[in-house]
């Protein structure tokens, strides 16, 4: 699965431009399951299990990543852009990016600190003032390579470091995609449905339609979530901790989860000796928000791989957490299918 996470994170697919990621996933699963692509671009997969399921279970992971979209070219040949998804400007300044289908290299520029007025050396430029420099000398030169509406994404490699950690862009939610692919390629006990969703980062739009189409009884959103287990953050603010397994949510900004399912997850984890932890801060939101309200309502669980520096070019997870999450998600899918 590690190799697959690496390959998935290297692909670029901001919200609305997930096609490259989708093509990769299809290549990986086409010999193991049936699939279709819905009007929005969601990849919907049906995997036959050894037994028919009593309940219809859907597992969801989103294909899109946060990024940028080019909105204008200035008269000097710099590119203006809009953020796609929630990105803190602070993680964009002074970064290399790739732009457009050709993957043109650029950098997000910043006025040198030497030229900033005294007392303003910690001020972050306004989002509207940010720009990408691709080295063009004029608007005309830039326009030879760039079209308005082109996607831009962080240029960030895959690194393994420290005690089993990995760093990459887009681990949110390619880690989830890798977990789903792994399940599809394995032998499943029961028939299971999967949604590789588009446009999560701009408001869980893909999952709304894929959940409608699949019409599940139970669903699991397979995600990454903020791990704030970093220097200077106290225990009760840490949300979840790298190395403690998948984080199971009881509530976030979009969903109050079924207590029954939450409790069952910990029960099953204990029985099967799988490491997992509760997500301890009510923050964030994911496709569960769209899925649980689909049609007449869907009982939904979220299991997330803890991820430091979410929505930055350098997302960090501990690989063992992805492995533990895979085990828990596989086990819970079985439980729900026969529940």
């Amino acid at each position: 699965m590690l190799e697959m996470i690496k390959e998935l994170c290297t692909l670029s697919g901001i919200s609305g431009r997930e096609n490259v990621v989708r093509d990769y996933i299809i290549e990986k699963i086409k010999d193991y399951a049936e699939y279709s692509i819905d009007p929005l671009g969601n990849l919907i997969v049906f995997k036959k299990g050894k037994n028919p399921a009593k309940n219809k279970v859907m597992l969801d992971a989103h294909m899109d990543e946060v990024g940028m979209m080019i909105t204008a070219i200035t008269s000097e040949g710099f590119l203006r852009f809009v953020k796609v998804g929630g990105i803190d400007s602070r993680v964009m300044l002074g970064r290399t990016v790739k732009v457009g289908d050709k993957g043109i290299s650029g950098v997000v520029g910043i006025k040198p600190v030497h030229l900033v007025e005294k007392g303003q050396d910690a001020d972050i430029p306004k989002a509207d003032d940010l720009y990408i420099d691709i080295g063009a000398k004029s608007k005309e030169e830039a326009a030879e390579y760039i079209r308005l509406g082109d996607a831009a994404w962080f240029d960030s490699d895959f690194v393994e470091f420290g005690d089993g950690f990995i760093k990459a862009k887009a681990l949110d939610d390619r880690a989830g995609c890798a977990i789903l692919i792994e399940l599809i390629r394995s032998e499943l006990e029961y028939d299971t449905w999967f949604s590789f969703s588009v446009q999560e980062e701009i408001g869980t739009r893909g999952a709304q339609t894929s959940a409608f189409t699949i019409a599940p009884d139970y669903a699991i959103a397979v995600e990454t979530t903020t791990a704030a287990d970093i220097s200077g953050v106290k225990d009760d603010k840490r949300v979840c901790i790298c190395g403690e397994g998948g984080a199971v949510s009881f509530m976030d900004r979009r969903t109050i989860y079924s207590r029954e399912l939450f409790d069952k997850a910990f029960e099953v984890a204990k029985e099967r000796n799988i490491r997992c932890q509760p997500k301890t801060v009510v923050a964030g939101g994911n496709n569960a928000g769209a899925i649980h309200k689909s049609r007449g309502g869907v009982k939904t669980l979220t299991v997330s791989v803890p991820c430091r520096y979410l929505h930055s070019p350098g997302c960090v997870i501990k690989y063992s957490d992805a492995v533990e999450s895979l085990k828990l998600i596989g086990a819970m899918a079985e439980e729900f299918a026969k529940w």
């Binding site: 080295g135 690194v159 470091f161 903020t226 704030a228």
Partner: protein
Amino acid sequence: MNNYNEVSVLLEKLCSAKGVSGAENKAAQVASELLSKYMSVKIDPLGSVTGTMGEGDTHILLDAHLDQIGLIVTAVDEDGFLKVAKCGGADIRVLAAAEVTVHGKEDIFGIITSTPPHLSKPEDSNKAKGFDEIAVDIGMKREDALKIVSPGDRITFNGSFSKLLGSRVASPSIDDRAGVAAILRCLEMLEGKELNCRISVLFSVQEETGGSGAQTGAFSADADEAIAVDVSFATAPGISSEKYASLGGGTMIGFGPSLDYDMSRRLSEIAEKKNIPNQSEVMGGKTGTNCDEIQISGKGVKTALLSIPLRNMHTAVEVCDLEDIENTAKLMAEYIIERGCSDA
């Protein structure tokens, strides 16, 4: 179009060798290998790379600084995160989630912590965190971290050498490896020329922390004239084109009270005569470069400054135009040729 392949390869090689102020060894090693093609090379007591060649009545010193800005480890906290301080003028606005290399007993990967959104108010995102609020995450427990990292270890910002459009490139530490590259290119251009002057080269340490390398190196060289090559500000959105240089607009010839006016003028005249693209950089006081130290070292040295326009100074995405480096080298070479011949 000239693709500046030679200078590109040279700059990439120089930029990939790391050397934060006071710990320039690796950069010094690469620079001295490159310089030894032209002259015999010594490392001085502070670590600067020096060399000299030729003879004549005039002795010209060429200086560029070897060090780059970075961070320095001050402590390892209880969770294994590294507490750090600036080493040179690092820009705190580009630190959140920045990827770094910690130069401990071995080089290891690290990433600077960034506060997750649930712990910050929306208005917080307008301010960069100070050093007391950030740390470097190396993915290790304290006991494992201590086996590799010690206080005092230097940290560099990761970033690839990226080719942008045309002859523009982005990389960390172009400040001032571009200057080192310009001097090496100048020496290459001078090869085979009969010169009646002595040329010394100083790739100086510790410019970013106050210029100790230039002060001591210039004293030892004891030259009559010096040209320092550094980088300076190029325009970009929000940066006035009246006050700052145009990227790709040519080498910047410095004018200011602390710079030798005759040298500045002569550089200008030669540039015009030889059709070398150039622009003027006028400073009202000191220059903020090694010139400030070189000028008053020993009995005093007539000093000139050539600057290579740079964007995003002191970040991991410093952008320069290779054409400007090449033109800086050309102008220095023509200056030396003229000085050498006029003394003959």
